[in-house]
């Protein structure tokens, strides 16, 4: 992968991936995080898309990048009740384990069974094929109030990265 970057004098530099690694190591951020506009976000890095009565929930691109290669996903049972801010499952990567907190209250209608066979789908397609559950919301309007917009989530992630 060659990424063109500009140095101070404006000459074009071609840097190979190894140089990028070093830049990241020295604290420069070259990675970009994908944060789609039309979704709601929780501070705990779950996204939520409202599809009528149903809400689809997944992990953000930032979350999957922090976790690295995801190897196992523990999903809730269909029919289980979930409450905003409560644990509903977990994701496990080769390096870490993270709980999935439900961004809303309601009842689990569907779980992404594909993740049991291919947990890495969260890495490759966090906002599409890597969705985690579909929940029938019980108090959506209140729950949405405590969620972030794409813009607010971006600045939340930025703060996290800066304080790290």
């Amino acid at each position: 992968m060659i990424v063109p970057l500009l140095n101070r004098t404006g000459n074009k530099y071609y840097l190979c991936s190894q140089v990028l690694d070093e830049l990241v190591m020295y604290g420069m951020r070259v990675d970009e995080t994908d944060v789609p506009e039309n979704l709601y976000y929780s501070k705990e890095h779950q996204w939520l898309s409202v599809e009528g009565e149903k809400c689809r929930v997944g992990l953000t691109d930032h979350a999957q990048k922090q976790l690295h290669e995801i190897v196992y996903v523990d999903l809730p049972q269909v029919g289980a009740g979930v409450a905003a801010g409560q644990v509903m499952g977990s994701v496990e990567s080769v390096k870490a384990v993270s709980d999935i907190l439900s961004p809303l209250s309601g009842e689990v209608l569907e779980v992404n069974k594909n993740l049991q066979e291919n947990p890495g789908t969260i890495n490759t397609s966090p906002y599409k094929d890597g969705w985690v559950v579909v929940v029938k919301a019980s108090r959506l309007n209140e729950d949405l109030k405590s969620l972030l917009s794409a813009e607010a989530y971006c600045s939340h992630v930025k703060t996290l990265l800066e304080t790290k």
Binding site: Y13, Y14, L15, K95, V97
Partner: protein
């Protein structure tokens, strides 16, 4: 901490019929200098321990492993007539043997001591003194509970088979075979390729001495072939492996060669008439060969071979062969060999650099790998585009190595010196040749290596510190190399007519399947894992299997030979005694309860259980002591020595019940990989919540829901189960087992979120700190287990 809890723990007796007469237990707690003493209030632990049931004396010492510490244990043992000893100190992985030997010398059976891990899994994981002390008390209470149920055990001995199988016939496998055969051991040398010799046979010269590679290797090849104690099996692979150290049984499959090795004289008449031409693997594609071919002129066995994949079966070769050596009806042959030990020397393969498109491999004939260059040097140096002598050559280091983004994070180690050697050689061969080496860091650590590097600089080899951004074919034979010179801080563009890539060294294909068959572990870099990185560098995780050469990681010829000779020595010290000791920690059947249902036979991963008339029987040689058979038995008719039902229950009751921690979390860790990983977290002084207490189990598969319920009933608010990666418990069975346990536990009113299961490898130990933190946080949110649920769990936990 509450005194009541101690009382309750002390009164606990999980299984009256199996409970031994109250034995006399002594508890000894080590300060380990300040390692334990600075974080754990050792005196408070001693005072509490002294009140536990069966404890007749509780003592502390600065260093229990020292001779004065051992003297204290001796004198107290005599004074109080102790029958069981609990040592609160470092991990049993560190000093179990020391204290077992001490017990033996005092006439106490070595299996009657129990170690409580107060250092790696307690004092080194926190700075909170109070919490660490409470945790230490719990760990001691668990150990004391278990100690009361310990039984004397005696290891048995088995005669060993003194034959050895060596897998891989490269320089490491050859040297190991010769060394062992010269000591009088019969060796089966198994090679997948049609000839032994490996990658070393492909090299031109070796650094830093510039010895001709084949000149030093081919005498070894011939010696191997002619040695009366070496049976050379080329074109052969391992199919199955059974048995254990001292008595392995291997099934080998020899692929058909279609040429009789005895009759073939190597004249080559067959190849002359063969109509099929394909790229030659030995020449790394720089030349072509026929479908019937000799791998290389000095090949051993020196016989032609038919390449099954490319042969069109025209059999023109049959007529051409004057010796009648060609056999079109040759078939794969299965062979079984019995050996006492196995040496793995499967070597490496070179990364295909075409994935790194910036270097243009495959887009221009003058972009080659360094292994291809080695072959070109042998054939007279030329650039592949027009076969003319090159004038200016560039070497590019670290193609896919030291590149955690797109390649391997590790250093492939041999490329720097190999490139320097090639540059020096070519400068001698080609007058006025310009040689440029683009490197990240030039690594020349080794005897005579730095001197060789200095010589190269004096010879006029150009060294550029910088990463190459891209290689672009420009016109005809010319290639543009664009790089960043990091010393000068500027972009450098230069034309070359030969570009040599140094791709990463990877483990040989099929290493995963072989590791599975032999019970070996693979590290995060993909190479095999040694038992101990520094002190047992050629031992595998499996007794009786030793590792040498590049299957462990990239290394050069000299280092491979050093390891080969080490494995020969390790093998000889295993087989030389004539007997091996077999651990007594095996499953056993309580025959009056067994109703011959056969569930245990189905679940046993090593086929160690048979079902003759009158109940199941365990073969103690094949049994690996994993305990998978225990939870599956509907009659509770099978148990495991040194991890018996009563011992495990007593540990759980003690560790979960002695003190209060909010929330209290019990982590069951599989004894080999997972427990070691837990130790490594402490060894790295990585802190995690003190709420977590680790209990060692032979395998998560040994656990039944009743053990978790016992933990909840005694005071736990959450349970973690950790299994090592690559153990006898397959991923599928592990997840199914865990789900089964969760269901049962949930039916007793404990939310399934209070049970967590994960797997880890030893090198990924840092993940466990994340597991402990995340799970503690989760249980904290869930709050303490409600009292109704706790009392409900009690009912099932006691039922046996």
């Amino acid at each position: 901490m509450s005194h009541n809890k101690i009382e309750r723990c002390a009164k606990f007796s999980p299984d009256v019929e199996m409970s031994p007469a109250d034995p006399r237990v002594g508890v000894f707690i080590c300060h380990c200098g300040g390692n334990i003493g600075n974080t754990v209030d050792v005196d408070r632990v001693r005072e509490t321990a002294a009140q536990l049931r069966s404890v007749k004396c509780a003592e502390t010492n600065r260093y229990l492993c020292s001779s004065s510490g051992q003297d204290l244990i001796r004198s107290k043992t005599r004074e109080h007539g102790l029958e069981r000893i609990v040592i609160g100190s470092c991990s049993p992985r560190m000093h179990l043997k020391t204290f077992r030997d001490l017990c033996s010398s005092e006439g106490i059976n070595p299996y009657l001591i129990e170690m409580a891990n107060l250092r790696e899994q307690c004092s080194w994981t926190t700075l909170d003194k109070d919490a660490a002390t409470d945790k230490a008390i719990d760990i001691i209470a668990g150990a004391v509970g278990r100690a009361a149920h310990l039984e004397p055990l005696t290891p048995s001995e088995m005669k060993v088979n003194s034959n050895v199988a060596v897998i891989g016939g490269g320089v490491a496998g050859i040297c190991a075979s010769l060394e062992l055969a010269n000591q009088g051991y019969k060796v089966f040398l198994v090679e997948r390729q049609p000839s032994i010799g490996g990658h070393m046979a492909q090299l031109s010269k070796t650094y830093p001495t510039l010895d001709c590679s084949l000149c030093i290797l081919s005498p070894k090849l011939a010696e191997t072939k002619n040695h009366p104690l070496i049976e050379l099996m080329a074109n052969t692979e391992i199919t199955t492996v059974d048995g254990s150290a001292g008595a392995y049984s291997l099934t080998l499959t020899r692929r058909p060669r279609y040429v009789n090795e005895e009759k073939c004289t190597g004249c080559g008449d067959c190849a002359k008439v063969c109509p099929v031409e394909v790229p030659d693997e030995f020449e790394e594609g720089t030349a072509r060969r026929k479908a019937i071919y000799l791998p290389f002129p000095q090949a051993v066995p020196n016989a032609y071979v038919v390449d099954e994949k490319n042969c069109t079966k025209c059999w023109l070769c049959i007529k051409a062969c004057k010796h009648g050596a060609i056999n079109p009806r040759d078939q794969a042959i299965q062979k079984r060999i019995e050996v006492g030990a196995v040496i793995v020397a499967t070597g490496f393969r070179v990364l295909d650099p075409s994935g790194f498109t910036q270097f243009g491999f495959g887009t221009h004939p003058n972009i080659i790998t360094n292994l291809q260059l080695e072959r070109l040097i042998e054939h007279g140096v030329y650039r592949p585009s027009d076969r003319k002598t090159p004038r200016k050559i560039a070497w590019i280091q670290c193609v896919g190595s030291r590149d955690s983004r797109n390649g391997q994070p590790y250093c492939s180690k041999i490329c720097c010196m190999a490139s320097v050697k090639e540059a020096v050689l070519l400068k001698e061969l080609v007058p006025n040749l310009e040689t440029w080496i683009f490197y990240q860091d030039l690594r020349a650590a080794g005897k005579g290596y730095e001197e060789f590097y200095v010589r190269a600089m004096e010879d006029g080899v150009q060294f550029v510190r910088g990463r190459v951004a891209e290689v672009v074919p420009i016109s005809g034979d010319e290639l543009l190399v664009r790089a960043e010179d990091t010393l000068l801080g500027e972009v450098l563009e230069n034309n070359f007519d030969l570009v040599v890539l140094c791709p990463a060294i990877l483990p040989e294909l099929g290493i995963g399947e072989l590791a599975e068959k032999l019970g070996l572990h693979i590290g995060s870099d993909g190479f095999l894992l040694e038992r101990h990185y520094k002190l047992r560098p050629v031992d595998s995780q499996n007794d009786g299997v030793f590792l040498s050469g590049c299957c462990l990681g990239p290394k050069d010829v000299r280092e491979s030979v050093v390891e080969a000779l080490s494995t020969a020595s390790r093998t000889a010290s295993l087989l030389g005694k004539g007997v091996v000791t077999i651990s007594p920690e095996k499953a056993y059947v309580i025959s009056e309860r067994c109703d011959s249902c056969g569930e245990c036979v189905k679940v046993c991963p090593t086929h160690a259980i048979e079902l003759p008339q009158g109940g199941a029987k365990v073969n103690s040689i094949s049994c690996v002591g994993c305990g998978l058979c225990i939870p599956i038995c509907p009659k509770d008719a099978i148990d495991l020595k040194n991890s018996t039902e009563s011992q495990l229950m007593a540990t759980i009751e003690g560790i979960a019940g002695a003190t209060a921690a909010a929330p209290k979390i019990i982590a069951f860790a599989e004894a080999t990989s997972a427990y070691t990983a837990c130790d490594l977290v402490g060894l790295g002084r990585q802190h995690y919540p003190t709420n977590v207490r680790v209990v060692s189990v032979p395998s998560v598969g040994r656990l039944h829901a009743r053990h978790l319920l016992a933990a909840f009933s005694a005071g736990a608010d959450g349970v973690i189960m950790i299994e090592g990666e690559g153990t006898v418990l397959s991923e599928e069975r592990f997840r199914a087992h865990v789900n089964e346990i969760r269901k049962t536990v949930a039916s007793r009113g404990v939310e399934s979120l209070r049970v967590f299961a994960t797997r880890t490898t030893i090198p990924q130990f840092a993940k466990l700190a994340s597991v402990f933190e995340t799970f503690t946080e989760r249980v904290r949110k869930l709050g303490p287990l409600p009292p109704e649920a706790r009392s409900k769990t009690k009912q099932l936990a006691v039922v046996r």
